[in-house]
């Protein structure tokens, strides 16, 4: 990846990530988050991780963002007034993020991480290579995951649907 491309994308993703946390209007935060995710997706694609890049766009920038938007609308969130979070939360939050930065820094300074390529085949990161792994080595895990998701959906519906006794009382209160 060219250096100018990396710097360009890095600046975009960092600035928009800052935008997510400093803006007051939740919808503006969300739009900044979409920009962050798009910049990261291009970074992934530039690193030959094509599938991960596109999944990032389809799943995160697409589906999950729409979900967030729905939540914001459903809860009717307004622009925040005043600072949120207790002092202790901010204190420990600062410590935790400082620890994370220190950890990343110490890992990045390790010499073994400066290896450029790990001898993967030319198809590394493509959809074909990924699906071949999924349907051979990880077949059981793949199938089991689909069952897991089905169980989660059934569970969510079972808990969210109206209980038999509540049929009449709750109908009026729903929007």
């Amino acid at each position: 990846m060219a250096l100018w491309l990396f710097v360009f994308l890095a600046v975009i993703s960092l600035v928009s990530a800052l935008g997510v946390i400093v803006q007051r209007n939740p919808v503006h935060c969300l739009l900044a988050l979409v920009l962050t995710i798009l910049a990261l997706a291009v970074l992934f694609i530039a690193l030959d991780a094509t599938v991960v890049g596109f999944l990032q766009i389809i799943v995160y920038a697409g589906a999950i963002m729409v979900l967030f938007l729905f939540v914001i609308w459903l809860l009717n969130l307004q622009a925040e007034t005043g600072p949120t979070g207790s002092l202790a939360l901010k204190f420990f939050g600062t410590i935790a993020s400082a620890a994370l930065v220190a950890e990343l820094w110490s890992f990045l300074l390790r010499p073994h991480l400066k290896v450029k390529y790990v001898g993967e085949s030319a198809s590394y990161g493509t959809l074909g290579a990924l699906s071949q792994k999924l349907f051979t080595d990880y077949l059981i895990a793949f199938e089991a995951t689909s069952i897991l998701l089905l169980a989660a959906i059934v569970g969510a519906v079972a808990l969210a649907r109206r209980a038999p006794g509540q049929r009449d009382s709750r109908q009026g209160s729903l929007p």
Partner: protein, 497 residues
């Protein structure tokens, strides 16, 4: 092009899993057309699939190998655990048939989630790589979180579900982080490859040790070991009683299956790193479980703490390690399934809608009102206490015997003392049933043959496996041995009749 021969598809041994998965989806599809009040048919459908899977699982006995590129272990170890899990599931369905009707639980969701969680448990028992163990655990847990909260009109049930879900999700995070660190240390998620990699300097690798610790926390939560037991009493009290029974037995068996396969079988070479920690956890679990059980007045909470104590007894053998201990744990879990499910079935039979009947005081004078029910409950409690010749005694004897052979005399002394202390709360129920008057008058209801059948089967298991333990104990020992040296199963040999 994709080379399909490298997948090593071996269908026959995974058929029990396929049957349960298919049945769960069929129950869901059929259930759409069925009213909540008429869910009996769905229950019988679930029961039929469990029985079919049980027969198919018998066919796995005697094999020893791994398949699906190392994701699935096909050995007597998985077969033994699958059988225990399926027996627990079958008894749970028998208990649920009338309960679901009376409490108007949504049948399609109830039975399909039950089957999904059974599938997750069986996956945990057969998994041979960390990813599949994790997915199995999640499938099981997600389904059980929801099942715990299905009594929608009872706030205690919702509390149980949300508590179990939040703490469970938290503990799953520990497990997953542990798996990630072990992958980082060894470069593989296949248990057999991890076993082979555990030599020399890797054994003191901080990443590996941290990963082991985090996985220990994850499994400790699922088996309700102290200090990861806080959720147990509230969740057990609030959940629908058949689900409580299923959690106390099924979830515990499956969690121990994963625990055993990961820690005793495959991480055995690293046992020096965790034996001391496990020693302390085991001693704490037994002591705290028994001490807190003594002060309970609600029978479901009492049985919850008793379940914690029993996890402690099993951890004694897990701490000791070795093939003898492995066989003892498998045998103990099988016996525990019958005994504990039986005790919970009696609780289901006696409790009344609106929470009456789950206090120990309600059991006063039961022997005069319902002598058979009281006798059954007494036998289950005496087995949990460990009175010969019932299965609880034999199982505990094997566990402690194995630990003594490995030199863990101190831990066994703690275990035996705890066992003696547990007599107080088990016998207090028996005393209430036989020697006190009062209690409350149970509703005289229509006969419930399925529930009675569940109690009868549990009773037969408790007595039979206790009086004549030899074949079961031998099978358990062989099952544990079969997990020790797996080889790749080839389609040709596994498919042969």
């Amino acid at each position: 092009m994709i080379n399909f021969s490298q997948i090593n598809l071996v269908w026959l041994p995974v058929l029990p899993l396929v049957v349960i998965a298919t049945a769960a989806m069929v129950v869901l599809l059929v259930g759409v057309r069925v009213d909540d009040e008429e869910s009996d048919g769905l229950g019988w459908l679930a029961l039929a699939s469990i029985v079919i899977a049980l027969v198919l699982a018998l066919g796995i006995f005697g094999q020893s190998g791994i398949a699906f590129a190392g994701a699935i272990a096909i050995d007597s170890f998985s077969a033994f655990f699958e059988l225990s899990i399926l027996i627990a599931a079958a008894l749970t369905v028998l208990m649920s048939l009338d309960y679901a009707d009376e409490h108007r639980l949504p049948g399609a969701e109830y039975y399909s989630l039950l089957l999904f969680s059974v599938l997750g448990m069986m996956l945990m028992a057969t998994a041979s790589d960390l990813i599949v163990i994790f997915i199995g655990l999640e499938t099981m847990s997600l389904a059980v979180y929801v099942l715990a909260g299905l009594l929608r009109r009872d706030p205690r049930s919702s509390e149980a579900a949300i508590k179990y879900f939040l703490l469970g999700a938290f503990s799953t995070g520990f497990l997953l982080y542990g798996i990630a660190l072990i992958y980082g240390a060894t470069g593989t998620i296949k248990l057999v490859a991890i076993h082979a990699a555990l030599t020399g300097p890797l054994l003191s690798n901080p990443l590996l040790l941290l990963g082991l610790g985090l996985m220990l926390i994850g499994f400790g939560f699922k088996v309700a070991a102290v200090p990861f037991h806080m959720w147990t009493p509230d969740v057990y009290e609030g959940a629908p009683t058949p689900i409580t029974a299923f959690m106390a037995v099924g979830v515990k068996i499956a969690a121990f299956a994963g625990f055993l396969r990961v820690f005793m079988v495959q991480l055995g070479p690293a046992s020096a790193a965790w034996t001391d920690v496990m020693w302390a956890i085991s001693a704490l679990t037994m002591t705290v479980g028994n001490m807190l059980a003594i002060v309970q007045s609600n029978i479901k909470r009492m049985l919850a703490y008793s379940a914690i104590a029993h996890a402690g007894y099993i951890l004694v053998a897990l701490t000791a390690g070795g093939p003898q201990a492995g066989g003892a744990i498998l045998y103990y879990l099988l016996g525990y399934a019958f005994t504990n499910l039986g005790a919970f079935a009696v609780v289901v039979a006696l409790e009344r809608r609106g929470a009456a009947g789950d206090q120990i005081a309600d059991y006063r004078g039961l022997a005069t009102r319902q002598p058979l029910m009281a006798a059954a409950m007494a036998i289950f409690l005496l087995s949990l206490l460990g009175i010969p010749p019932l299965v609880g005694f034999v199982g505990k004897f094997y566990l402690f015997n194995a630990a003594v052979h490995r030199g863990f005399v101190g831990l066994v002394v703690i275990g035996v003392l705890n066992s003696a202390a547990s007599a107080y709360y088990y016998l207090s129920v028996v005393v209430a049933m036989y020697m006190q008057e009062g209690g409350f008058l149970e509703e005289t209801r229509r006969s419930r043959p399925a529930l009675v059948a569940a109690i009868a089967i549990a009773l037969i298991g408790t007595v039979l496996i206790g009086i004549y333990p030899e074949p079961y104990f031998t099978a358990a020992g062989n099952a544990y041995q079969s997990a020790m040296s797996p080889e790749e199963v080839h389609a040709a040999t596994a498919m042969a009749p």
